[in-house]
Symmetry: C2
Subunit: 233 residues, 2 copies
């Protein structure tokens, strides 16, 4: 599940990163490289590399004679996929999930509008295929299959928009959708209305109807927001 995995360096990062993003050290706390190296039983070289990466994420700041200072959350690179994953795994997961869902609600409608203008024939076909897959798995507790096609659907939309900034949010959306299915329990089958909206959206993109694509996506994301209000008020 963890992306870093490989190498001694990655294992330390996978422990220290989540600790920091979980708020284990209040902002302003100072960590000493040597102490950390001892704690994780690694050499200073490895520890320095870890600190450098944390520094590039703006989670900490390293200064001579003072140590490694933990930065306030406001400074963090919250768009770093690694940071997003760490925070989603932590305690303030609900708040994080809400932030990301609001982000989706801003981005996806615009992305869908652009996709209606720019999508290739192949992408239109993929979209239809995904929507059909969602329909096929919408009943009988086939949640995993449904999720798979849902994620793929939104990825295609974001990619087809032709905007690289939108395209790179595919992982975020995947994380949010997966979170909804797995963590926040989802006993029942997905909302039939949502399924219909996806089918109609694929249709709108295929027919180059940007305005309709945007409107439909807005309905989808508003649904996601309402769902969140019900689960975590």
């Amino acid at each position: 599940m963890s992306t870093t995995g490989r190498g001694l360096h990655g294992r330390v990062l996978d422990t220290l990163g989540p600790e920091i993003t979980a708020g284990a050290y209040p902002p302003g706390s100072v960590l000493r490289t040597d102490e950390l190296a001892q704690r994780f039983d690694v050499s200073r070289s490895v520890m320095r590399e870890v600190v450098r990466v944390l520094e590039s994420m703006h989670l900490v700041e390293s200064r001579r004679r003072v140590g490694v200072t933990v930065l306030p959350a406001r400074e963090w690179n919250v768009y770093d996929p690694q940071v997003i994953r760490w925070r989603l795994a932590g305690a303030d997961r609900p708040r994080q999930l809400r932030s990301l869902t609001v982000l989706r609600s801003a981005i996806e409608p615009v992305a869908a509008g652009l996709a209606a203008r720019n999508a290739t024939a192949e992408q239109c076909a993929e979209l239809t295929e995904c929507a059909l897959g969602m329909v096929a798995h919408s009943r009988g507790h086939r949640l995993e299959g449904y999720l798979f096609h849902d994620v793929a659907f939104h990825r295609v939309i974001l990619t087809a928009s032709g905007n690289e900034m939108f395209a790179r949010l595919g992982d975020v959306v995947a994380e949010v959708l997966a979170g909804r299915t797995h963590h926040d329990v989802m006993f029942e089958d997905p909302d039939p209305a949502a399924v219909t909206l996806h089918v109609q959206l694929a249709e709108a993109v295929r027919e180059r109807d940007a305005a309709r694509a945007e409107r439909l996506t807005r309905e989808i994301t508003e649904g996601a927001l309402q769902e969140l209000d019900v689960l975590a008020p």
Copy 2:
């Protein structure tokens, strides 16, 4: 101007990072840590730290027995402020600027709507102050002063939205606005219509009129998009 600056490590990064994001090495190219260390005249330790940071940005991938492989642009963490700065300084600056402006056009209207709901009295005051500052510098080639207040205005909106993902885009917006003023020549005074829109927006937020705030912001960002079409068709 460069954020990294400090330390030998930062200087190497400030050279190698821009090179990679500028596409100097085609995707799949392999770099050897030892060679890079020689080239920059630094120790392997320093070079390894640089590679680790580039790896965390998904610009490169380091694998045993093969070397440091440059990844395709599709993999890059394009939301990393450092990466954004590097790319804006490079050759594909126009494309980058367009991507970011489209991103703005998606985010800011939603952020403004939220700001109208959540802004504190203090934030409302700041907003009005910024808008007045923009008015005051809107004539007589006071571009620097205008830019300053424009950036501050949008930062307040994004922060006041209460969504941390939006708030963190303040730097991006600042970069885009600064780019428009400095790089892409802007001899004339700013569009009076835009100034008026900002004043009205501050008003709408103060009066808690979310719908109007969103609509006005949409007009502002659409103006920015059209401006871009004129400059770089």
